[in-house]
């Protein structure tokens, strides 16, 4: 289809104007100067408004807190990425009251099992955005994309020190432009829809529940 390409580009070029580009003032998206406490409060407020749950494990041993929560919620297991920092810590401190399942194969090798699984998937985050109420996930070899998508419950670990005011701030601080992973995600709540009479319903295709575990470490 090189002909189509040439035809489209030549039509666009025929009237390309050499006008100076309009000014872009990004000031409105810069840091808001919120305190650490304010950032966390805003994040929680935004995310809780769309049914995100929070588990504050600061100053505690988070793997135990997660394990207790899973038992309490009677969830049948937890899928995790065994090679990540999070995975190493999780497996070393797991007491097996709830089965811990490593995501150690290609998805195709256990797709049916994965889609039938009724427990939770756990992932790390690269921080969060207070203004929009979003978690930042860099998926990849250690933490596959389906880990936060297919299990009905998604548990995300968040170091509260990594919450920033705005999306722009995070993007610049973490130099996304040079580090784009295969799939970068912002997640702001459990899966939802309002397609039927604008009535909100949760858990349409993705996770029905999202639990954010607050920590002060990675």
């Amino acid at each position: 289809m090189t002909d189509a390409r040439a035809a489209i580009l030549s039509r666009l070029r025929a009237t390309e104007t050499k006008a100076p580009p309009p000014l872009q003032d990004f000031q409105i998206l810069e840091s808001r100067g919120w305190s650490a406490e304010e950032k966390l409060q805003r994040l929680r407020q935004q995310m809780e408004a769309v049914h995100t749950e929070f588990l504050d494990a600061r100053g505690q041993d988070w793997p135990t807190a997660v394990q207790n929560w899973l038992s309490q919620e009677k969830l049948p297991g937890l899928i995790y990425g065994p090679k990540s920092t999070l995975g190493a810590k999780l497996s070393s401190q797991w007491n097996n009251s709830v089965p811990l399942i490593p995501y150690d194969r290609a998805m195709e090798q256990w797709k049916a099992e994965l889609f039938a699984f009724e427990g939770a998937g756990i992932t790390a985050t690269r921080g969060a955005i207070a203004q929009t109420g979003s978690l930042i996930l860099f998926t990849g070899a250690d933490e596959p994309r389906t880990l936060s998508l297919v299990p009905p419950v998604h548990i995300a670990l968040l170091n509260v020190g990594k919450i920033r005011d705005t999306w722009r701030q995070v993007m610049q601080e973490q130099a996304w432009v040079n580090n784009m992973p295969t799939n970068l995600l912002l997640i702001s709540g459990p899966s939802k829809t309002a397609d039927i009479e604008q009535t909100l319903a949760y858990g349409v295709h993705g996770p029905k529940r999202l639990l954010v575990v607050l920590t002060d470490e990675d």
Partner: protein, 479 residues
Amino acid sequence: MDTADFQDSARTALGDPQLRSNFRRAMDGLMAKRAAMFPDRDEWTRLRSLGAAVRARSLLNLPHLLEKLEERLTANGIHVHWAETVDQGNAIFKEILAQHDAKHVVKGKSMVSEEMHLNHALEEVGIEIIEADLGEYIIQLDHETPSHIIMPAIHKNKEQIARLFSQKIKDAAYTEDVDHLTGMARQVLRKKFANADAGVSGVNVAVAETGTLVLVENEGNGRMCTTVPKLHIAVMGIEKVVERLEEVPPILQLLTRSATGQPITTYVNMISSPRKADEKDGPEEIHLVLLDNGRSRVYSDPELRNTLRCIRCGACMNHCPVYTRVGGHAYPGVYPGPIGKILTPQILGLDVAGDLPHGSSLCNACVEVCPVEIPIAALLVRLRREAVGNGAKALKSAIPPKGAGQHRSRVESWVWWGWALAYRVPWIYRLTGLMLSRFGGLMPATIPLLKEWTSVRSKPRFASRTLHEMASSQEVPND
């Protein structure tokens, strides 16, 4: 489709009280949600100027950005295809799917694919294509098209959906419970995701500098379609590219706040490559189809080019008094509401859709809420000019809109010529005024125009004396 169809279908829609109340309620809700997102006028103004500047800048450099995007995507391992027409676009899809022997396809919401009638094209060659967005799934079950670009099934209420599910989904019991209805769709579609050979998606923004496709959604169907099947084919209009990653946050924050009143959607999905060697999921192959379908022609005119700023938020239709009353199905083409009234005539041609720009009272409600400052009302007027052959002649390189001048009628031209004469020459105007004030009341209500006017209004009554006469008799100075 002819525009006689717009009037006819509008008339039908106006006579359907259920449809009207479904739309009224939905649009009232969406307007309130958007308003809650922009409580601070100054912030709205500044964010909006930034959004407009981002889109204007992208369009200014469009050919360059498309080449850069292609180069970066290719370097990232994503295949890029170009389609001038809908038929070319569909042919590309069929070819890629045939190469992979893909028979079962799942699709995330994409208006460009609606523009291509992709489902129809694929079904013709025996490929099953399932709409995975809940709203799209609902209308696909009922063999309908979207009535809104963001909320495709907004014309239906839950009773109608309950009935549809109980008839079309195997073993489904009738329920009006929204959670249960959603649960039914989840069950059906999860199986489809797991077993699909390919996933199709649209693109909200493509980033040239990083070679990234950005998609926003709430349900997770977009992520499913772009993650689970081994093959992902994305499709976008050529206008949706931005140069830099930093231009994404303003566009998406304007988009989600304007569309559904959310600070951001549940998922922002940024895809920059197919599955890498050490990765355990994600498609092994990604293709991007860039569709022109008349956009480069729109681009050629510096004023009409602003149509291509659109980020498809739907705020213009949510705030449109005409759309609110007739709904999306009354409009020809796939884009309803104010954006459709400027886009459709340019894509389909003014010869077939030239009356569409007249389907507006020019109230400017759309202009007020457009997050990228598209001068919709001015473009409606411009297209009205083009339709009657009074187009702009300033720019030689501009290709006139398709079908320009086709609506010119000699009678209408004479009417306006006569009007201009009467209103330009004071004595003719004053004489006309005098005659109307004395004898205007004798006009029968059955003459054209007056007949339409008096359908729900009494006959307008001319005053017995004009303002000119009153001012003169009260000695208001003339200069």
